[in-house]
Symmetry: C2
Subunit: 644 residues, 2 copies
């Protein structure tokens, strides 16, 4: 336990970041130099008898002088260029999901980068591999997983984390078929399998539909139980691998399915709410599942998955015997920060198991919202009740009870994606994936001859369970340092994220109460976490297309582009399109208020909204001289008038 946790004193969030005006420059510089010099003397103290490769006298040689001049000149050039960047550090930036980073993570990242550890294997990262596993453990605990059973690690980002989850889900889904084939080859009989409806059956007597509807836990137990039925468990493992979809590939596996079961079933599908991130389509395409097998479940007016529609979809799939590889629930949508009622999704899964005999992998894409789960833990690591949680953010009424329940239900999933490089406020690249049951690792494991050494401990070479190979140990150290300073509970990250929600709610309330005439600012509902979206109407806009165009113009005037540099902009937003195909009827209340019909919306293809992501904890804190929300509203008004 870090000293910070033992001490009950509350962290001042003003000390966590470098600050919008680099208020903490002095302490940052001191720690930066400390880290650098410490490293320098580590090098000097390693076999000091070796002497210096570059001697002081050689530094006066023209070749050396020239090289250093080139380096200095290029750095000055880079620094000049970087100033064309975007001021994410300022409360004036409420655009994309990017902001200032914690000092702890920046300094931790830099300090570690000098050592250049590679978290593909502990042999080249003895320190940072351990940190990665510690961080994974902390995230798993926050999700509510049993830390003794879970498996998690860092990834380059949310896409790879989600990819790995669905890769595992696909392999688990088809595993019972491979186990059956292995059992047949081994001449093993009498293996009993529990079915989702509570009954059980003999493995060899199941039809394809039943084989593809064994619960993930039961599937992993099934593979383990085969090992117990034979003298040589390694042979069983080998044979299951031999018959797996992973090894055979879809073409050969499909041929065998047809040969054994006659007409194979319709393609396996993946269920996602309509608000799911666009990367899910990439993932389904690349895994060979197919973009068309991604089934969008409608969302309600709060942009949360409509669980009645989910239940209905499952009934339809069961009726035509179409297997479900996985169901994805979103905790913090990219567009609205909506938190699915994961507790209700879990109930639907239970009902479908009981009534329809269906089973599937349940994944939470909490890339954005995962860190918000810290709000439901007290400093003692124990769960807090809804009332206790609510009390921390008074007088704001946040979180809503549905949000609390959604976060608390994370423990019932099979896997969760959480991106530390989003609401963890640490440098890229830092995504993370957690699996509830570590046995899934074996389904994706491969071995590198130059990394895996006999007798190596399990943690010595985690790369064999991970899609990516080489990856920065510095990223793990960045996350680790940040968690040391801000623990994953109500006092640490819970406070920081609460402040972003407070800012978003204040922004929402004040826009709602603002005088925008002759314009009409049509807000999406109060956000679950910290993203505020609104459409803009005006009596002169005859069509939804014209309304959308105006939104686009506002966005352009308030964002960096080829025609506008950061220094010309006072406040920064972004925009998005709630597309007809995905959003369906969920935006009808917005259309009503804008005065357009559903047909208008279908014709226009969607409704454009300005999107404000609040990551800055100081937006509504009134710690500086500026009322940023007031400033933003004034700026927006001016831009609106100018663009009309």
């Amino acid at each position: 336990m870090s000293e910070g946790r033992e001490n009950e004193m509350v962290t001042d969030l003003g000390s966590v970041f470098l600050g919008p005006k680099a208020e903490n420059a002095e302490v940052f510089e001191k720690l930066l130099l400390e880290a650098f010099r410490d490293h320098v003397f580590w090098r000097r103290n390693f076999h000091p008898e070796d002497g210096f490769v570059v001697r002081e006298t050689e530094k006066h040689a023209p070749g050396y002088q020239h090289s250093i001049s080139v380096l200095s000149q290029e750095l000055l050039g880079l620094l000049g260029e970087l100033k064309a960047g975007v001021p994410f550090f300022s409360p004036r930036y409420i655009g994309h999901m990017t902001s200032d980073l914690t000092m702890a993570s920046l300094i931790g990242y830099f300090a570690t980068m000098l050592y250049n550890p590679n978290n593909v294997a502990a042999e080249v990262s003895p320190v940072t591999t351990r940190m990665e596993l510690e961080v994974a453990d902390q995230l798993a605990r926050m999700i509510g997983y049993d830390t003794g059973r879970q498996w998690g690690h860092l990834t380059s980002g949310g896409t790879v984390a989600n990819f790995e989850a669905l890769w595992v889900a696909r392999n688990v889904k088809y595993l019972p078929v491979a186990v059956r084939w292995a059992a047949e080859e081994l001449g093993v009989t009498g293996v009993q399998v529990p079915l989702p409806d509570g009954s059980s059956a003999d493995l060899t007597e199941l039809g394809l539909w039943e084989l593809l509807n064994i619960a993930p836990d039961a599937t992993l137990d099934l593979a383990a139980s085969l090992h117990r039925h034979v003298d040589d468990p390694y042979r069983a493992v080998e044979l299951v691998g031999h018959h797996s979809l992973a090894r055979l590939g879809y073409q050969e596996f499909g041929r065998r399915l047809s040969a054994e079961f006659g007409d194979s079933l319709p393609p396996g599908v993946v269920l996602v709410p309509s608000t799911a991130h666009y990367s899910w389509e990439k993932i389904c395409r690349s895994l060979g599942i197919g973009g068309a097998q991604l089934v969008h479940i409608p969302v309600d007016n709060r942009f949360r998955m409509d669980t009645a529609a989910l239940q209905e979809t499952l009934r339809g799939l069961a009726a035509r015997a179409q297997p479900v590889i996985g169901c994805v629930s979103v905790i913090g949508t990219t567009e609205e920060s909506a938190v699915d009622r994961l507790d209700q999704v879990v109930q639907v899964r239970e009902t479908s198991a009981r009534e329809l005999g269906m089973a599937f992998h349940l994944h939470a894409d909490a890339a954005w919202g995962g860190y918000a789960a810290s709000i439901i833990y007290g400093p003692d690591g124990k769960r807090r009740s809804y009332e206790e949680t609510l009390a921390s953010y008074a007088p704001e009424v946040w979180p809503e009870e549905g949000v609390y329940r959604g976060l608390a239900a994370l423990e019932h999933t099979d896997s969760v994606t959480i991106d530390p490089h989003k609401l963890g406020f640490v440098p890229y690249p830092a995504g993370a994936i957690s699996f509830r049951d570590r046995r899934v690792r074996e389904l994706v494991a491969t071995e590198a001859p130059y990394l895996f050494h006999r007798g190596a401990s399990e943690w010595g070479y985690i790369g064999r369970f991970i899609f990516e190979g080489s990856k920065p140990g510095a990223a793990a150290a960045g996350v680790w340092m940040s968690h040391q300073v801000l623990p994953l509970d109500a006092r640490g990250y819970g406070r920081l994220i609460g402040e972003t929600a407070r800012g978003a709610l204040a922004l929402h309330r004040r826009i709602d109460g603002g005088d925008w005439s002759p314009f009409q600012v049509v807000l999406l509902p109060r956000p679950d976490l910290n993203i505020v979206c609104f459409a803009i109407g005006h009596p002169s806009f005859q069509t939804l297309e014209a309304t959308n165009d105006f939104c686009e113009r506002i966005y352009r005037a308030m964002s960096v582009g080829e025609e506008r540099a950061a220094r010309q902009i006072d406040y920064f937003v972004t925009k998005t399109v709630l597309r007809t195909g995905e959003y369906g009827r969920s935006v009808v209340p917005i259309l009503d208020r804008l005065g357009f019909s559903y047909d208008d919306y279908v014709r226009a293809g969607g409704v454009s909204v300005i999107r404000c992501t609040v990551m800055d904890p100081f937006l509504a804190a009134r710690r500086g001289r500026t009322d940023y929300i007031e400033g933003f509203m004034r700026s927006l008004r001016e831009v609106m008038r100018a663009q009309l």
Copy 2:
């Protein structure tokens, strides 16, 4: 053109790295502070009227003081832990592919990390997206691609780069079927397709085998030509997408193939040399191609793909009408740094097209060796002849002519993976993928509603063509800075990599000439680039298993593990196993010298070798007080005696 390039003065490699004894600490610290302070004042100068969020008076408050104390304490803790890391910066480290990094990349990375750009879209990384594209352009030019036609970008590493290449290869392979279905739906007839043997045919008259054997270029032309046959090209694009494997997924696509063509062909395969990196198996498994469809082509005694065997395999595949999705050639194997005779692989591809009517994607996995292509360019950017190249490294006879020809043939591939975070000496994460024909991007493109804005220029949102989403702009800046200081030609990276080869060759020569009795050190052949491997025999070792065990013990004594910290080790190596399944007969000369038979080798499963990766340009430079090679040999001798 940077000022460094205009100037003809030669860079002193002693100025490129911080140095084994941090010889360049003073200049590094100066530039680090410059970068940090420059950033601080950028923040201060952005809307100075906003005032400070944290005021000086608040810094005396107990909450603030406490937080900063926690941060300082945790940093000191981290710095202490990091010292259990591995001294990659020292010439004494010749283990894994990890070393010191260029100062340019480290400082560039850090300076940029403060700005936190995200290269998913230019809107959140206007500067570093441009740098990423510039770097991709530089790498493509080094490969020999037409920079006006190529498409390339950075990835988290070689695995994702290779994954993206094979993802594209798979989509291109099955595209003609989708185009045919789209043409049928559009009622388009008369589309002519050039076949690999030089003839041409009507698209609708081709059988499945012919459809799956259209050259990648011709396939992309075919899709474009369909667009010209219809009034509404967007409709054509849409329909091709609609019928694509990516959209339908393997299950539905396979069902349709069977319905239209009767029994569909055997599964598509991927050809790799036996030395290919283990990640190719992960990639084939995840893409749904299947690990079993990865066909290993034997390698010769120099560990290069046996091109006669490749030709033979292709004949066999053609005979049973089994399509080839792609062929991978390795430029710098992970174990031996062997460079395939890519020029000969290209010839085999031409022969197979002409004689067997086969076509497939050719990919070079140059993750390790790609930067070595810099040696064949002069400072004027022009190709140098073999003799000119050779002259740069005299008196060393390097590169071998076959290596030169392999590197020069990169231009004939369809895609190449190169990892800047390997022989580019820059921080993780920095892999890179280059495609010869930018049209392939469209086959993997997806759009994010919140990122893609009408009228956005092509470079504005490169993320839609890329597997990953958020990624560090700092990584792009690190590579970019390093390329500014060390251009991709014989004077820049060519010199640096030449020095690593010089070190490896000297190490090889001196081990070869060393007195090891009573041990026998059996070296693999002279390396193509910079990795030296050897087995260790002794008269008392009765079996190959015992010989391999001894190698394992040597490795353990000369590497960091749970039982041994870096400070207890004088020199660092690693080891690998040349496994029977992959290496087959290529290791017979090694076995002969060790006194074991092929049967012994089959029984033992492989032969273990110590592996020394030379990335340090100072290993043989004799710039310090220490003769590192002498020291290494002495240390190895002692360890060998102690472990016997």
